[in-house]
Amino acid sequence: MSFLELSNVGKNYKVGTVTVEALKEVTFGLEDGDFAVVLGSSGAGKTTLLNLLGGMDCATEGVIKLGDKEVTSLNKRGLTEYRRNDVGFVFQFYNLMPNLTALENVEIAVEICKDHLSPEEILKEVGLGERLNNFPAQLSGGEQQRVSIARAMAKNPKLLLCDEPTGALDYNTGKKILKLLHDVSKQRKRLVIVVTHNSALKDMADKVVYIKSGRIERIETNARPVPIEEIEW
């Protein structure tokens, strides 16, 4: 029994009279403290998987379990509570509120959350101790992504989901962000899932989930993950 467990998860979309199988028979498990990478090219079903894991959409079949919570049996309200308390989300385009400062952007997430961490301390931890009162427009892309990560971490979630977190960043900044996410996973013993199409990232992950045409192609476990500093792409 894994911490996060998917068994036979499927997702169908109805487009007119046609049913599109976006995900089919997805089964895998991940553990607390894992740094996992979901790898696939565009259209492989990554986003669909992300939506299901993040409680943003409902699976058509199968069971998803996080800890002792069965996500697939939750109703709309239950899913909202799940997103609120159990999942942290890091977006490709940061999605910060432009009219809130860095600190307030973190606060907006934790103020509705039961068991959260101090926003200020988390921001210091991601290296933004000096930028607490800056608005997003006054921050660089990397800094904005750090705020986004801090926002997700401060909720003290069981699961941190990252959607192409380096997609909008330059090479070096991207690496730093990945290092930060990796540290979160290891230091805080959190399950971090990075969804990406960048296959270079597979070497840093504990587990790599290969996804293709809506199916799990294979799952690899890296006995010895390579530190991100040593990975080039």
Binding site: T47, F89, F91, N95, M97, T101, A109, P136, Q138
Partner: protein, 648 residues
């Protein structure tokens, strides 16, 4: 190529369907209001003019002050004066006081030659002999009689009372003779409606000591008014011989009135300037031809005068409110189109890089604006016609309205429609060319979101620190886009003022006895239309707000905000804007009311009941609430995947 381009056009309509609908309604309401209110006055005036012709309404009542009334030569003089095309009737009309501020009028007419101010028979049959009389159609003051009711016409009583009223001494011997006259037993043959007494709230009698005839019910309330009008055949009048056999066969009541309907029926034109000149001239000629005679014109006829005056008041109020309606509509249409183009920036950039001309790109949005305003304006034509009929219909409460003229004055419609179309097209073209004028390279880059910054309130820690976190964000949002903020506040303030204008007039009618039911009906129409306008304004602005903040809303949803919390995020802003709009709406309301009262010639700002001012914000907030309820679905239905998408 054109085919695909047309596809993008079609998709634009589908994508911006709520925006489209709100544009259509906006134009429908305000152009409809302008055309309806504008043409109602014309309709009423035309109805009155057509009625004047159809009933051959008398222009002059010449009343003799001489004992013995008019002689045949006097009547001939009048006929000479007005030419052979004029229609002349003779008879008499006597008002007998029957109580405080109440009189009864007796007309003595030649029933077989009743060709001036011809009445309508409302109920009953034409009288077939001298003993059948007519009674005026009852209203709020006139009591009327049942058809077939038996009555007595006591000529002795009438003559004695008339003499008393005029302060004349009656020879006791003559009085004794009169008292021997038996009252004439008569039957009411029909209830009739005279074109001269169509006002329902009292027709002043002759017993007002020459006081000027007012043009509103406020004025008649204090006057001696007619309680009943009896139309009696001249043939019933006893002659002097009935008193004593050696006296001549002269009627006891002589022809004291000459009723003149001038030949040129075009001259009236609903109290046209030409008619005024003509009337004044005619009065002078009558005075020299028949010295000592009194002349009553339609300017002294309360019914005609007040109907015309009320329709003029409607016109006056209409002009002011139309301007306000059009300003609000132009403002909202302008922001709607400007924001549409800003939202379409990525697509415009794309088309631009593909080599489409600026005009080619913009024409799509121009078409959007034209179709939306065109559709709204087209519908507004019918709303206008309906509203004009409604206003005329409302006049029925105060008047026995003549048949409503089918004429449609489209000048207001055309002006309002043109103004809206021009402002929509102008705003679209301006915003469009401004955007397409920039280089495609800079267009392709997404517009950087407006930087958040500290707002002025943050410098007042006393207030700022007390605001909860949610409100801090709202306050910053409200002040982030200043032009949008002002646009919203001004639009809401204007709509609020329009609602208050309606409430103010309503208050005058309800509690200060000003105006009449006709004006009250107008007032209700204003409240309804201003309320609708307010709702559509808030709908449009909220809708724009939501569609611009899709991404923020989706992010909040991913963060686990409940529906209520998400809608609260947007709606706090909407309500704050509305409240600020209402606050600014107060001075604006005062100004607008002042303007309206001045135009109408009644009512004062100070007289408006305090609770009308109190109820005002609730009405506006009620509409805001209704709109937020309708738009709630739109927010809740936003796809969370919006948050994952690349910034457009």
């Amino acid at each position: 190529m054109i085919k695909t381009y047309l596809k993008t056009l079609w998709r634009m309509f589908a994508k911006h369907v709520t925006r489209f609908v709100s544009l259509v309604f906006m134009v429908l309401i305000s152009v409809g209001f302008c055309s309806g209110v504008g043409s109602s006055t014309d309709k009423i005036n035309k109805s009155l003019d057509e009625y004047y012709r159809a009933k051959n309404v008398g222009d002059f009542v010449i009343k003799s002050t001489a004992e013995g009334g008019f002689t045949q030569s006097d009547v001939d003089k009048a006929r000479e004066l007005f030419g052979e095309n004029a229609v002349i009737n003779t008879g008499n009309s006597i008002d007998i006081s029957v109580g405080e501020k109440r009189s009864v009028r007796y007309y003595f007419l030649d029933f077989d030659n009743w060709t001036v101010s011809v009445p309508d028979i409302i109920e009953g049959e034409k009288s077939d002999g001298a003993h059948g009389i007519y009674v005026e159609n009852p209203d709020n003051v006139l009591k009327g009689e049942e058809v077939g009711a038996r009555q007595e016409i006591d000529f002795a009583d009438i003559l004695i009372k008339l003499a008393e009223q005029n302060g004349e001494e009656i020879d006791p011997a003559f009085k004794k003779l009169l008292e021997k006259l038996e009252p004439e037993k008569v039957t009411v043959s029909a209830v009739i409606q005279s074109p001269l007494t169509i006002a329902n709230d009292g027709e002043p009698s002759y017993n007002n000591d020459g006081a000027e005839v007012p043009d509103t019910t406020v004025g008649t309330a204090d006057m001696d008014c007619l309680e009943n009008i009896y139309y009696v055949s001249k043939d019933l009048i006893p002659s002097q011989r009935d008193l004593m056999s050696f006296l001549p066969d002269t009627p006891l009541i002589a022809d004291g009135d000459i009723y003149v309907a001038v030949g040129d029926r075009d001259i009236f034109g609903c109290f046209s300037a030409r008619y005024k000149t003509f009337t004044d001239g005619a009065k002078e000629s009558i005075a020299s031809a028949l010295p000592g005679a009194e002349v009553l014109t339609l300017y002294e006829n309360y019914s005609f005068k007040s109907l015309y005056s009320y329709s003029e008041k409607v016109e006056g109020i209409g002009y002011i409110l139309m301007v306000a309606f059009l300003i609000v509509t132009a403002l909202v249409v302008l922001s709607n189109m400007t924001r549409l183009i800003e939202e379409e920036r990525p697509q415009i950039a794309c088309l631009k890089t593909l080599g489409y001309s600026s005009t080619g790109i913009i024409s799509k949005y121009l078409l959007f604006a034209l179709i939306a305003t065109g559709l709204g304006g087209g519908g507004a034509y019918f709303v206008g016609i309906g509203l004009a009929y409604l206003i005329c219909y409302v006049f029925n409460y105060s008047f026995f309205m003549p048949p409503i003229s089918s004429s449609v004055a489209i000048v207001f419609y055309i002006i309002a429609f043109t103004l809206i179309v021009v402002s929509a097209v102008g705003a679209t073209a301006l915003a469009g060319y401004k955007l397409t004028g920039s280089r495609p390279a800079s267009l392709l880059r997404p517009k950087p979101p407006r930087a958040g910054k500290k707002v002025i309130i943050e410098k007042i820690p006393f207030i700022w620190n007390r605001l909860s976190f949610k409100y801090k964000s709202t306050v910053r949002n409200v002040l982030r886009y200043k032009s949008r903020f002002f646009m919203t506040v001004i639009s809401v303030a204007f709509s609020t003022a329009l609602v208050m204008a309606g409430l103010g007039i309503l208050d005058m009618c309800l509690f200060h006895d000003f105006g009449s039911a006709a004006i009250m009906g107008i007032a209700l129409v204003i409240v309804a239309f201003a309320g609708l306008l307010t709702a559509v304004v808030i709908y449009t602005l909220t809708n724009i707000n939501i569609s611009e903040r899709n991404r923020e809303i989706a992010t909040l949803m991913v963060l686990g905000y409940y529906d209520k919390e998400v809608t609260g995020y947007i709606y706090r802003e909407v309500y704050i804007n509305s409240v600020i709009g209402i606050i600014f709406g107060y001075p604006m309301s005062a100004l607008l009311l002042l303007l309206v009262f001045n135009t109408m010639g009644f009512g004062t700002l100070g007289a408006v009941s305090w609770f009308m001012w109190l109820v005002l914000p609730f009405i506006v907030l009620l509409f805001t609430g209704a709109v937020t309820l309708i738009l709630r679905r739109k927010i809740v239905k936003i796809d969370m995947n919006e948050s994952l998408k690349a910034i457009e």
